[in-house]
């Protein structure tokens, strides 16, 4: 079954078959990344533009490496060095980039729906690398790949997603993806940072999304504990009194992790705030797969670029 779509804008509209195709393809790219020569000629002559309106280390580097390992030419544009500072609109930027005939545009933007708007204007495949508090599909896919690799399955697993769910596009994409594949997701965090009603947006018959009373309830017997970053840049509303208090009530430490299953794995999309949402001894501990997530990110993005930018 091919991935019959021009763009990857979110997980919400992907079918289970499409998700599995992407994960299986990413699995073969994991092997390519383990080779001595990590480059294949598959996307020779293709051009990929990374258009980043928000700060990023991991995602941008990951997309750039993914493109380069497939032999595509990758160009990075960040808002601070582009004509955006001269007042060019998003649409004009997109149309100008389209005039240079790229095969794929990877976009991160602070506003939800920005990639969708660009996708309608350009012929290139548009890949959402994070839009506002909406979706971050490649992050959810790499999380799923990491879970699948360590647990052998996703269906039936209990996944705790903890922290600032309100501002988290990672949490939304994961809620869609993991529940579609049959996982049971428990969300927890300060009540000011929980978007109650989110569960009604999730259309899954296999899995489920529920809000736990507290972090302990969410973590108890979990197979996967996914911590979310406290997004300092979006904390304008006084959602909690202090970072110290947040850490005491909602941080992941060894005592709390002990409530999960003995073989539970710990994920975090990065960058981590050590001592805030996650203690250093957990982040660096044996259960933590934070760096493997980064590794799998390259494989997932190679799969997406192969599936979307490979053709005519």
């Amino acid at each position: 079954m091919p991935l019959n779509r021009k763009d990857l804008l979110g997980i919400a509209d992907l079918s289970v078959e499409e998700i599995n195709l992407i994960l299986d393809t990413a699995d073969t790219f994991r092997d390519v990344n383990a080779r001595q020569i990590k480059k294949v000629p598959t996307l020779r002559g293709k051009t990929i533009i990374n258009l980043f309106f928000e700060a990023s280390t991991r995602t941008r580097t990951s997309f750039e490496i993914a493109g380069k390992r497939l032999s595509a030419d990758t160009i990075n544009i960040s808002a601070s060095t582009s004509s955006v500072v001269k007042g060019e609109t998003l649409i004009d930027t997109a149309l100008n980039l389209q005039a240079m005939a790229p095969d794929a545009i990877v976009i991160r933007h602070g506003s939800s729906g920005a990639p969708h708007q660009i996708a309608k204007l350009v012929k290139a495949a548009v890949i959402n690398a994070g839009d506002g508090a909406h979706e971050h599909p490649t992050q959810a896919l790499l999380d799923a790949l990491t879970i699948r690799y360590h647990k052998g399955r996703i269906a039936g697993l209990k996944v705790a997603i903890i922290g600032d769910v309100l501002h988290s596009r990672v949490a939304r994409s994961n809620a869609h993806l993991l529940s579609k594949l049959g996982a049971h997701i428990a969300l927890a965090g300060p009540r000011t940072l929980l978007p109650f009603g989110l569960e009604t947006l999730i259309l899954s018959t296999e899995g489920s999304v529920t809000f736990a009373e507290n972090i302990e309830e969410a973590i108890t017997d979990a197979d996967v504990v996914m911590m979310l970053r406290i997004q300092m840049e979006r904390q304008s509303g006084g959602f909690f009194p202090s970072l110290r208090e947040y850490s005491i009530y909602y941080g992941l430490n060894r005592r709390r992790l002990a409530l999960a299953k003995p073989d539970a794995i710990v994920l975090h999309p990065g960058p981590i705030n050590r001592g805030v949402e996650i203690d250093s001894d957990v982040a660096d501990g044996v259960s933590s797969l934070i760096l493997e997530q980064v590794e799998n990110g390259v494989a997932v993005r190679m799969a997406i670029l192969y599936l979307l930018a490979g053709g005519e």
Partner: protein
């Protein structure tokens, strides 16, 4: 796709005899079998490589190493085919430098698959030499590539298709000459 069957090119017995002959030719041409690696090209080259290895083991008692190559990422027509082909795993031993690699495939046709396979091999190391073994050579080459071991040469028209059926993937074992209806 519907096909008209035009002829049985090889029966299961023929395939077995031809594999035995090619196995003995491989042994004859490669005195040091410890440096030989039989690499099947996915899909049908893989079981053929394994069967060649089994025959060599029967004949000489030497267990020749085998591997599998998926050439999808190296195809030269990826930008023109409509759907992205599914990629399967390439499985090769850690180091192929210095080895004698025998590529194994079911049908040799344009030679483009073999070109892709050689490019992929080179990305894994620098083999001492590369040889090619095919069950059927049907002609119509588009690249200067020839096989070292050929099971059977079959004269075909360009519209005809050689359909190799192996028990690993098909209901029975035989090689057919067919044409699309």
């Amino acid at each position: 796709m519907e096909f008209t069957e035009k002829a049985v090119v090889m029966t299961a017995g023929d395939v077995n005899r031809v594999l035995a002959r090619m196995a003995s030719q491989i042994v004859e041409n490669n005195p040091d079998l410890s440096g030989v690696l039989l690499v099947g090209i996915r899909r049908r080259g893989v079981p053929l490589a394994e069967r060649l290895a089994a025959k060599i083991k029967e004949m000489d008692g030497v267990a020749v190493a085998t591997g599998a190559l998926d050439i999808t990422l190296y195809r030269d027509d990826l930008t023109t085919v409509a759907d992205r082909p599914v990629i399967n795993k390439t499985e090769l031993p850690a180091n192929i430098t210095g080895k004698t690699i025998i590529l194994v495939d079911d049908v040799l046709y344009t030679g483009r698959t073999i070109r892709a396979a050689m490019d992929e091999l080179i990305d894994f190391g620098r083999p001492r030499r590369v040889q090619l073994c095919v069950l059927v050579d049907r002609g119509w080459r588009e690249l200067p590539i020839q096989a070292d071991y050929v099971g059977k040469n079959v004269t075909t028209t360009e519209a005809e298709i050689i359909k190799v059926m192996l028990p690993e993937y098909d209901e029975m074992e035989q090689v057919l000459l067919v044409e699309q209806k």
